[in-house]
């Protein structure tokens, strides 16, 4: 059986289809050094929603933001709680992050 992870991928084509995001400098998040603050924001609770470039850290519940639309297999970092995470699609078809120890 072929391992799908080893199948050749047209990376340029895949990258072209990804939406890019300009991250606002100030999200009000103040728990990491200044230059990294734009990559995080606080979850606002009911009424808040995640953009295609965002996932919630399962460890500390901060919203992690990327400059590109996220897809399963992407690696992101939660700096506030120092976790390495991998983006996966859950049973409901939503993107979520799992901790990669």
């Amino acid at each position: 059986m072929n391992d799908p992870l080893e199948a050749p991928v047209d990376e340029a084509a895949a990258a072209q289809q990804r939406q890019r995001y300009e991250l606002a400098d100030d999200t009000g998040f103040d728990e990491v050094p200044k230059k990294y603050r734009k990559f995080y924001r606080r979850w606002q609770g009911d009424g808040d929603s995640l953009a295609p470039n965002e996932v919630i850290c399962p460890v500390c519940k901060v919203v992690i933001r990327s400059t590109r639309e996220l897809r399963p297999g992407d690696r992101v970092y939660c700096m506030p709680c120092m976790s390495r995470l991998v983006v996966v699609r859950n049973g409901q078809g939503m993107l979520e992050a799992t901790v990669s120890y």
Partner: protein
């Protein structure tokens, strides 16, 4: 080595190196602690608490001090037995955090009119929490790295994070500001605990069983302490269950729940 400005483009090694440093710690806490005095803005007006409210708040703060003292003593001892440089440096930042937490909580009690906070803590401390502290320090003295990290950075820190976060929503403005500052520090502590333990369990899966036993032994002590604090805070059953959710999530991800 050049460090990229897009955090998600760092290599795992670069990320690890960055976040386990005093440099990272300093620039992180600077964002939310600069300009504060003892964890809150200078000159903030004291709340108008009646005697019963004030007394309940003091009891809760006394037990927060017991938890923070446990974490301070625990983290100090763990520096000596940490298995690598990253863990040693991180834990030394945690020692500073825990010392600050104890200081601001003691100061808050003084602001509330407690003449001798140490004596008040001795009189009001929850016995289960004191037992938990003793057991944590035994694990550290036995140089049991995994069990001590589980007790301190997963069990104790996760419950402190949840309780402080919840209490800050209903507390007076000064206490809330002090607690919110502590919660921001705790995010690093719980993350370190889960990730460190996750790596150790990945490399030594036979440790699961032993750590499950440690967890079972400690669970009832912290849950008793949680009950005690929840009662003082007037937290209902549903909210009490929600407070344990963060800890349960962490334990499940580590595979220590079965």
């Amino acid at each position: 080595m050049a460090v990229r400005d897009d955090v998600h483009e760092l290599t795992g090694e670069q990320f690890h190196e960055q976040v386990h440093s005093f440099e990272f710690w300093f620039h992180s806490v600077e964002g939310y602690l600069s300009g504060l005095e003892y964890g809150h803005r200078e000159g903030a007006a004291e709340p108008d608490l009646d005697d019963a409210e004030r007394d309940r708040l003091i009891s809760v703060l006394c037990n927060y001090c017991v938890g923070e003292t446990a974490a301070l003593d625990g983290a100090s001892g763990l520096v000596a037995i940490a298995p690598n440089r990253h863990a040693k440096i991180f834990l030394s930042t945690q020692v500073v955090d825990e010392g600050r937490h104890l200081e601001v909580l003691l100061h808050r009690m003084s602001e509330l009119g407690v003449a001798d906070p140490e004596q008040e803590i001795a009189a009001r401390a929850c016995p289960s929490l004191l037992q938990f502290k003793d057991r944590l320090l035994e694990l550290v003295a036995e140089r049991d790295w995994e069990a001590a990290i589980l007790a301190q950075n997963v069990i104790l820190e996760a419950l402190e994070f949840a309780v402080f976060h919840h209490h800050a929503k209903t507390a007076d403005a000064i206490t809330a500001e002090v607690l919110n500052g502590i919660v921001k520090d705790e995010r690093r502590h719980i993350g370190f605990g889960e990730n460190e333990l996750g790596r150790r369990l990945r490399d030594a899966p036979n440790e699961h069983r032993r750590l499950r036993e440690v967890k079972d032994e400690l669970d009832h002590l912290v849950l008793d302490a949680l009950e005690d604090t929840a009662r003082s805070l007037g937290v209902g059953d549903i909210e009490r269950h929600a407070l344990g959710r963060m800890y349960i999530g962490s334990v499940q991800r580590l595979g220590l729940d079965r």
